[in-house]
């Protein structure tokens, strides 16, 4: 009976249409799993936009939906970077917003009224389903095994390395960019394999979409030429390569230049030069190919050498001259930091201050990729075995992806697809070998070997083991052991992915969750409390000064103008805010007046032990300000003579007098019995007497003291400075000038 049903099932699985149906069902299930595993945060908290950048994207999308595409394209945002404003339409990657806007309008046209917020929240999970499908397509191009693609899709769907940037609510460019990345690679492989202009053009189209969506498009711009270059070096130049590459480059570059933020960068900056160089190189090769068919080979050799060296030298010369003359921009600082991880820390503190720009720690690879990370080399090895054009691509991608992922935490994202593909190839290879129910007849093999033995030996790699007769693999024991082990690994992988997603990547970071002693969940909602306060209690054009991390959130949640935000385009402006935060009140006040600041917002974690607060980020503010005003702000002065960064009684005078310190600890002592004031982040006891603030009034402090908002005082009505005005309010008598026996300043009218 059971044998019969197995037979029936096995037979049912053999028809072509049944297989297709099964595949469709499996892919749909994978997409479902990919989406479902990203919904932890929605279920646990609510449908809310996460973190920082997504708040800007959300705000921009709302603007797009409200005002239409052309208004969005020409959007001048006067509510950020006060008073400079931001040419937002020309300085963002519009792909994400336009995608959501299109979905919104499509749903409207279908009379399904969905709130734009929900579209934004659920966009990333939806696209993760598509990414899984794209990974399936890409892997299918690599291997004839039908299972590899499905495995790759499954891996791609739940790999934490990708989930980290695509949970529900993580409405960031990466949400759609990873799908576009994988799909562009798939189209590239397709175009290369077929030498088809159509697929090349499709590849260019999706490349254009990618450029419109994410700054990481440069990864494609560099990887495709590199692949082409490696192929050429391997002597695999073909008309297929020529057709697909030139089609992609010409159309893709034109498409990318339509994005205002990119503009003329593809012909101006060094990052884009490899693509252009390979384009020119391919033209030369095509020309040489033609010449070779036209003239005798003897003369051709000489011609080739002369021509090749001459062109190369000329090209190099032009590049050097153009770069030094400033026609081509030299490599940007962000690019240098990819090669030297210490570069940014010295030269561009603003890049180094972002945690996701730090080099990756080793455990992170295992954390984000689990078992895929050790299957990955095996998959790459299998690619070496076949080494067709498309396998070269995987090898090249694997090499570069690994390097960049090692340099920057954030680039783990670009590594994940190739890891999934390579691991899927490896696993499917193992499974195909060990789950094959048939035991091949050894004699057949023997005959086969003999029949074309010489040819095979030459073709096979030099590994000895491969030429030996295969033993052991056919036994049921080994098959079942391997199959069980693999199943266990796969199950563990799913467990790990779910655990990581649920514990590490599903926190909105706008709302903090903690556990009470009895195990129940306690929500700390200080951010939204403070932003709501701002929204309800301040003028609509009240300018808020805060460190740039909170700019997007203030703009999105509180809807108030900010001085600086996460789009860190103007280092000087950020340094100005840093200077205001790290200077004495008397220095900060004119800066705040000049920038028309009404409120200052600081994040303080001392009461709750929330370590991501402004005092811990303070040194970055000092460093960035010191970069612009080295004479006025000095990092050294914030450290004690013994080189410690202290906030307690031992803190330096500069530290104690800085506006940030005063704002953080103002009135904090009043929470505690005398002498007991404690900072729970730094774990230190604070001095008994707290700082005094003269130019600011405390306006709001959230429930757990995480957010503190201060109002900037107006100029004194009587023309006094704020310190003496405040002293008068406290009842101190003004010292009589006469007693000091100093000659009075004579008044001149």
């Amino acid at each position: 009976m059971s044998a019969n049903s197995v037979q029936v099932l096995a037979n049912a699985g053999k028809g072509e249409s049944t297989r297709t149906l099964l595949r469709v069902i499996i892919l749909l299930l994978i997409a479902g799993a990919a989406i479902a595993s990203r919904l932890f945060s929605v279920i646990r908290f609510e449908s809310i936009i996460h973190e920082f950048d997504p708040w800007f994207n959300f705000r921009a999308t709302r603007y797009l939906v409200a005002h239409g595409f052309y208004k969005f394209w020409d959007w001048f945002d006067d509510r950020t970077w006060h008073p400079l404003g931001r040419v937002t339409g020309g300085t963002l990657y519009p792909g994400l917003m336009v995608t959501s806007g299109a979905i919104y309008h499509a749903l409207r046209a279908l009379t399904i009224p969905v709130d734009i917020r929900n579209i934004c929240v659920l966009l990333a999970p939806a696209f993760s389903g598509l990414t899984a499908y794209a990974a399936y397509l890409l892997t299918n191009e690599m291997t004839p095994s039908p299972s590899a693609g499905l495995l790759a899709a499954a891996f791609m769907g739940i790999a934490p390395g990708y989930i980290s940037r695509s949970v529900a609510g993580s409405y960031d460019n990466e949400a759609i960019a990873i799908f576009l990345l994988v799909f562009t690679f798939y189209l590239w492989i397709k175009a290369l394999k077929q030498g088809s202009m159509l697929w090349g053009a499709l590849c260019a189209l999706f490349y254009g979409y990618m450029v419109a969506s994410w700054g990481g498009y440069a990864f494609i711009t560099c990887l495709l030429p590199l692949h082409a270059f490696v192929l050429i070096c391997m002597g695999r130049y073909s008309t297929r390569l020529y057709v697909s590459y030139t089609t992609w480059y010409a159309l893709g570059t034109l498409a990318s230049m339509q994005i205002p933020f990119v503009g003329f960068l593809p012909v101006k900056t060094s990052e884009h030069m490899p693509a252009l160089g390979i384009f020119g190189f391919l033209q030369l090769l095509a020309f040489l190919d033609y010449v070779r068919s036209a003239i005798p080979s003897r003369q051709y050799q000489t011609f080739l050498w002369l021509f090749a060296s001459g062109t190369f030298g000329l090209g190099l010369l032009v590049l050097v001259v153009a770069t030094s003359a400033g026609v081509i921009a030299p490599w940007s600082g962000r690019f240098y930091s990819l090669w030297d991880t210490g570069y940014a820390k010295i030269h561009i503190p603003i890049i180094a201050s972002v945690s996701e720009h730090q080099p990756t720690a080793w455990p992170a690879f295992f954390f984000d990729l689990n078992m895929l990370i050790w299957l990955f080399p095996a998959g790459v090895y299998l690619c070496f075995q076949q080494l067709a054009d498309e396998h070269v691509f995987i090898v090249v991608y694997a090499l570069f992806g690994s390097y960049f992922a090692g340099v920057m935490v954030r680039l783990m994202l670009t590594l994940t697809p190739v890891v999934c593909v390579a691991a899927a190839i490896a696993i499917s290879n193992v499974l195909d070998t060990y789950l094959d129910a048939r035991s091949p007849n050894p004699e057949d093999h023997q005959v086969d070997d003999v029949s074309d033995g010489t040819a095979k030996k030459a073709a096979k790699s030099g590994l000895k083991s491969t030429s030996k007769p295969v033993v052991g693999v056919y036994s049921t024991v080994s098959k079942s052991i391997v199959a069980t082990a693999m199943t266990a690994y796969l199950l563990l992988f799913v467990l790990h992915c779910t655990w990581v997603t649920s514990n590490a990547y599903s926190s909105p970071s706008v709302v903090l969750a903690s556990r009470l002693p009895d195990g129940s969940q306690h929500i700390i909602d200080d951010y939204r409390e403070a932003y709501q306060w701002l929204r309800q209690n301040t003028r609509e054009d009240a300018k808020i000064m805060s460190w740039w991390d909170y700019g997007y959130q203030i703009g999105g949640m509180a809807d108030r103008p900010t001085l600086v935000d996460n789009n860190t385009w103007n280092n000087t402006h950020i340094a100005t805010v840093g200077k205001a935060m790290s200077s004495r009140e008397e220095v900060s006040y004119p800066i705040m007046r000049q920038h028309e600041v009404d409120y200052v917002l600081v994040v303080f974690g001392g009461l709750l032990g929330y370590s991501g607060d402004d005092i811990n980020k303070f040194l970055w503010m000092v460093r960035i300000a010191e970069g612009i005003w080295p004479d006025e702000v000095k990092e050294r002065e914030f450290f004690t003579p013994r080189g410690e960064y202290k906030v307690d009684a031992d803190a330096t005078e500069t530290m104690k007098n800085s506006l940030m310190y005063k704002m953080s600890y103002y009135n904090y002592q009043s929470l505690f019995p005398p002498g007991q004031a404690q900072d729970r982040v730094r774990g230190v006891r604070l001095p008994d007497v707290g700082p005094t603030l003269n130019v600011l009034d405390e306006a709001f402090t959230s429930e757990n003291w995480i957010i503190r908002i201060y109002k900037v005082k107006d100029l004194d009505n009587l023309g006094r400075d704020h310190a003496s005005a405040a002293a008068f309010e406290r009842g101190h008598k003004k010292k009589k000038a006469n007693k000091k026996r100093v000659a009075r300043l004579l008044r001149v009218d």
Partner: protein
């Protein structure tokens, strides 16, 4: 329409408050309410100008400058009191709060009484210094009234004050003749700090000095001040335009000095009628916001380009737009609003600023939009080639005039994608356009040739087979 509305508004406002622009509730604080008889002319003048006067003594229980957090009076006059302190109702903090709430104070001192500590610390906050012992006497051995102070020389005779600076309107002084004389009997001189909110109205003559008659009767060794550094009557105007005037001699406001005939030492004429009554009116009128009050009626800015919409006060402009800005100003002069005329040597300026002014322009009087009640000043200019959030800022602060500080925020955006000149308009682009045209036609021609020319090889091959 707009000017008509503003005229209506002006008329309406003029009817509602006939005397001061800030109110008519005047509190007079005296040592003894009976003392008011000696100031009857001065107070009578104030009453006839429409003030409702209340009298209190400093120690009175009912005295309170505030009621339910609002000012209970609009103006306060302090006449000299003998007590050292002023009691809990008139602490310096309360007085300062009164100024911050736009209340006006006229404070008088006298050399006969010691100034209360409350005033001294208030004056210290305003950067006005009194002599060390909180009293003093200003004497001048060269210009005193020989009729009443032939021995002590403590009744100073001063010419009516002249213009402080060339660019400032003179509110105090004689209009017709120059030989008006102010009698300043037994007064205290104060030294002013150098803050811009302080202005001396009446300064001591070059030969005057201040000393303490009780302690320095024999020899004056430590001089508090002399000459023009001694301010006899000084004015302070806060940033909120609240006014505070310090009159060194309360006696000069008394009836007897209003009517007195004085004789300058060595003077040419015999006796002269003092100018005190008129001067008292000017000083009190200025302090209580009856003169020198400038009001902004309306501000209007618009796009000044042909074919553009004529919308008033748009929130956004584009870089390099032509923009026109107009501000209408009136000045309150005793009983009515008049057109505010900028003094001949002065300029009203408009700043178009982001962080710092990118334009600072001279606003010119526009007679077309002006009326007898309001003067309109206008300027048109081209917005700078810099996008950002800009302020139209008129910051006109002059001594004796209330502060005009008007800020209108607009955004200046960048060029939209369809506002640039088209490529065929730019002559530099013609070679490139020609290049594109050549490529397109060449490509089409090539395709046509390729498709419609028969292959010679084929023909050849066909021939061969034939």
């Amino acid at each position: 329409m707009r000017s008509l509305l503003s005229v209506l508004l002006v008329v309406f406002v003029a009817v509602v408050s006939a005397i001061s622009t800030t109110g008519d509730r005047l509190l007079v604080i005296l040592e003894d309410v009976a003392d008011k008889a000696s100031y009857s002319t001065f107070l009578g003048d104030l009453e006839s100008r429409g003030f409702k006067i209340a009298f209190e003594t400093p120690k009175s229980e009912s005295l309170s400058l505030f009621h339910l957090g609002e000012r209970a009076y609009d103006h306060v006059i302090f006449f000299p009191t003998k007590s050292k302190g002023l009691g809990p109702n008139l602490t310096p903090q309360i007085l300062l709060q009164f100024i911050n709430a736009k209340g006006n104070i006229l404070l008088t001192l006298s050399s006969g009484t010691v100034a209360p500590t409350s005033f001294v610390s208030l004056l210290a906050e305003l950067d006005i210094q009194l002599p060390v012992d909180r009293t003093g006497l200003v004497v001048d051995h060269f210009s005193y009234d020989s009729a009443s102070a032939a021995d002590l020389h403590d009744v100073l005779l001063l010419p009516a004050p002249e213009n402080l600076r060339r660019d400032v309107k003179n509110f105090f002084g004689a209009a017709e003749s120059d030989d008006e004389v102010i009698a300043f009997p037994r007064g205290v001189g104060a030294a002013l700090g150098s803050g811009e909110l302080l202005t001396p109205i009446l300064r001591a003559p070059r030969t005057a000095y201040s000393y303490n008659p009780k302690e320095q009767a024999e020899v004056v060794d430590d001089l508090f001040g002399a000459g023009e550094q001694l301010a006899l009557v000084s004015a302070f105007q806060g940033r909120n335009s609240a006014r505070f005037t310090l009159v060194g001699s309360a006696e000069m406001l008394q009836d007897k000095w209003f009517d007195a005939k004085v004789k300058a030492v060595g003077g040419k004429s015999a006796t002269v009628q003092t100018f005190n009554r008129k001067f008292a009116k000017q000083v009190s009128g200025w302090t209580f916001q009856e003169i020198g009050v400038v009001r902004v009626n309306w501000i209007e800015h618009h796009l000044n380009e042909a074919g553009a919409s004529n919308e008033s006060n748009p929130a956004i402009y584009r870089i390099k737009n032509d923009v026109a800005y107009t501000i209408s100003l009136s000045e309150w002069s005793w009983s009515s609003w008049t057109a505010f005329k900028v003094p001949a040597n002065d300029e009203l300026q408009l700043e178009f600023s982001m962080l710092s002014p990118l334009h600072r322009l001279h606003l010119k009087l526009d007679p077309a939009q002006s009326s007898p009640e309001a003067a309109a000043y206008t300027v048109s200019f081209k917005a700078p080639d810099q996008h950002g959030i800009f302020n139209f800022k008129v910051n006109y602060k002059r001594p004796f005039l209330t502060n005009v500080e008007e800020k209108n925020t607009v955004s200046v955006r960048h060029m939209a994608h369809d506002e640039w000149p088209r490529s065929f308009v730019i002559s530099g682009a013609w070679p490139w356009i020609a290049g594109i045209g050549a490529t397109v036609t060449g490509w089409v021609a090539f395709c046509g040739l390729w498709m419609y020319s028969a292959s010679p090889d084929k023909k050849l091959a066909i021939k061969k087979t034939q």
